[in-house]
Symmetry: C3
Subunit: 337 residues, 3 copies
């Protein structure tokens, strides 16, 4: 249990009500009870505020008067909620040491307070810093290095020589450092181009489940500090992702593309190879990017769903646009005379 | 070997021919031999019926007279084929008990007739019901529970607290309960929003290879009874998928979207976040859904492939549509006079 | 260290300069030093040639005079680079034998010079040929067979009966032989159609990280010799991919589709089920294929990104095309008179 005073103090907020009121956990406005704290950040949910049973609500100052119970007033309720949820849900500390079922090469350098779980495999030349957690079933091939306080949840695969920074969180099924897709056509037969570059993952990077990040062909694939990647993203060889860029699920990035800092890339976007995106680009979901983007701003493509019979008709019309343009041109000729 | 009488009885069908005729396995019309049974459900394959060497064919009554050998006449040949294929290909029963190489926490509760394969990791507080099969390399983190007769094929990862119902089939590489993609921008730096909700998987759910289902932010992500998910689907946090909905491969579903019952979602579809789809929605492949769908029916988007030089031209025409509309307007003005 | 004479000999090239000059590794024109060899294949990078510090550069004859140091002159610099990079970066030979932590069924047949790494699981009836490498954490269910010199990097899952040819490279997270997505609607409830076909992978096939290839429903899913698959590709049941076809990342192929030989399929393409593509088809990235393609050549679809406010306007115009066509028709009627 935490008092509202302690919680407000944690986020630099102001309590409206009883500083000593105690809450135990976070819940939504609709489902919170009196021992829970909730929050209002999206104004669309304001309708739930009047009837909430939450013991306290995190709000911005303009909403404070609508809270029926205690309030914690902050500048940004969503950020405050994130921090308070972290406070109320501390991570369980994984036990230090190496599980007896793990297979760890003697030529590795593992901090004594790192945690190596069951069925893990650690190759030769691997270095693992303080407070790192390697969850069950992870495989770290030779010469991988992991910076302090990083966490590999489970069944993560890091291929040879991959370097991960500090405080990374890597979710299950992630594969980093597999060979990039480099092939050369030798008189009709495809031969492999050896992928001898590496992968550098910065600090404070999160990587979602089943995301894949390929190693570079000659130089490295680079993921900048503070980058957040969702699930099932494909990052091709020699891609560079700038600091604090966030990428939603199912995005595919072809090789050698350079993405700037502070970009926001929506789900299902596809980026061609050898492109350059400046800092501060926003791409809405399922956008198809075939050219470099040289100005910050929001870009989109794709046509949203409509009823199938209308879609059929519109596709036909689309195919006739050339003819339609010709017909308009002929009318213009006629009307000149 | 099974007699046609036994087989027909299993699916409520009627034998046309010899009740005692024996078949051993299922094959296609083109490749079946006299000890095999085949089926005709898609009329497009009727051409293969006359020349099939199959010992017997499962057909609807209107096709029975065209079968050159024995027939089993049923209402729905595809459903009957499914049931007969199950009858003729019973699953091998995995051996009960825990493989010596598995790592099982002593604080777990595992049915004595469950099967725990090699290199499995089972955490604290896990409960595994009767007849469950946990295949090689699976990782079940703390407090997972699995209902009776469910089967995890191999290398599946279930994160903390995930609850799976009865008779589920979960294919290799699936990750359930990884953190949802919740981040908050704290003065230019992204911080994580703790994902403290869970995942509830209903009964009779199938989940295809390398599909990912994230845990909820506060409340649970929910997959209803009888849902069938193909491979490489991404299900965001707090998504709810209604009963008997089927989703083909490579679909991406952003967070907090609610999908109704009995929906059919084609491959490669993308669904935005915070949407609501009513029951009985059909989405054709690669459709982009950016708004809620409030009426059942079929919806589509996307423009199918054409030759690249035509595509180039059409894209240019598309970009000129605004101008074209303006030109038509001017013609209309001219023609008013 | 390798002399330029030896290197040129390996690729049938001609040295311009000192045959005995020694280099140790490959680097880009921009970053190479005097002990490194670089290459110029894309003319776009010619600007880096004059100022490179590379000890030698692989070039075509028309570029040889621009090389400031030694040159190796070849017909195809990219192919020569691939071969030279292989020469300079030989794979470390994995140790023969079975790691003590691996779990190998006694009823399997494993070549004594195969390498079976830590935490591997090998089922009954598995056969593994000479020089095969099975990396850490791989699971091979019963009756899998792997041809000589194939390599499974780590955490690969091969389901029952999957057959892999010779010299395959299978990257981490790949799942081959999971059940195809076969379901039948039995009066409103979906039942599974047993997937009793197998998967045949030819010789010299590469399969990228987290790609999934489903087993056939009745007959086999087939990947031809020399096929190269990138990451996160989904191959549905009974798909057939012809020899030497290459497929980039994030492609989804629905069931029973037949792809010809020597096709090139760009990233993020979606292919519907039961289609047929002839040999020599090229599909640009994110193309949506809903019909068979009967002529070789290049095909495309999708509209590339534009600024979001223009996109909004164009989508509206797209929806109005039917009306616009009607307006043009009315103008034509007016102008007839």
């Amino acid at each position: 249990m935490w008092s509202l005073g302690e919680i407000a103090n944690h986020v630099g907020g102001v309590v409206q009500g009883d500083l000593d009121y105690q809450v135990a956990s976070i819940a939504t406005l609709q489902n919170a009870d009196s021992q829970q704290i909730s929050f209002l950040s999206n104004k669309k949910y304001k309708k739930y505020l009047a009837e909430t049973s939450a013991g306290a609500v995190i709000v911005s100052s303009d909403m404070a008067s609508f809270v029926p119970s205690h309030a914690i007033v902050v500048d940004d309720p969503y950020v405050a909620y994130a921090k308070i949820a972290s406070l109320l849900n501390p991570l369980t500390r994984a036990p230090s040491g190496i599980h007896p079922s793990a297979s760890v090469d003697t030529e590795s350098d593992i901090s004594p307070n790192a945690s190596i779980a069951a069925q893990v495999v650690i190759g030769s030349g691997v270095t693992i810093a303080d407070n790192v957690v390697i969850g069950p079933g992870c495989v770290l091939l030779d010469n991988v290095s992991i910076g302090k306080s990083s966490r590999l949840v489970a069944n993560v695969t890091l291929c040879e020589g991959v370097k991960v920074g500090e405080r990374a969180i890597i979710h299950p099924g992630v594969v980093i450092g597999a060979d990039g897709f480099g092939i050369a056509n030798d008189k009709g037969k495809w031969i492999n181009v050896p992928q001898v570059g590496g992968v550098l993952i910065g600090n404070d990077v999160d990587i979602g489940a089943n995301t894949t990040i390929d190693r570079g062909a000659i130089e490295d694939t680079i993921i900048g500090n503070g980058v957040k990647l969702d699930n099932q993203i494909q990052v091709g060889h020699n891609t560079v992702i700038g600091e604090n860029t966030v990428i939603a699920g199912c995005v595919g990035i072809a090789g050698s593309t350079i993405i700037g800092k502070n970009c926001i890339i929506g789900g299902g976007v596809g980026l061609g190879g050898h492109l350059e995106l400046v800092d501060g680009v926003l791409l809405t979901g399922m956008t198809m990017v075939t050219k470099s983007i040289k100005q910050p701003g929001s870009y989109s493509s794709g046509i949203p769903a409509e009823e199938t019979h209308k879609w059929h008709k519109n596709v036909i019309r689309y195919r006739q646009m050339d003819k339609l343009t010709e017909r308009v041109k002929q009318l213009e000729e006629l009307n000149k005379n």
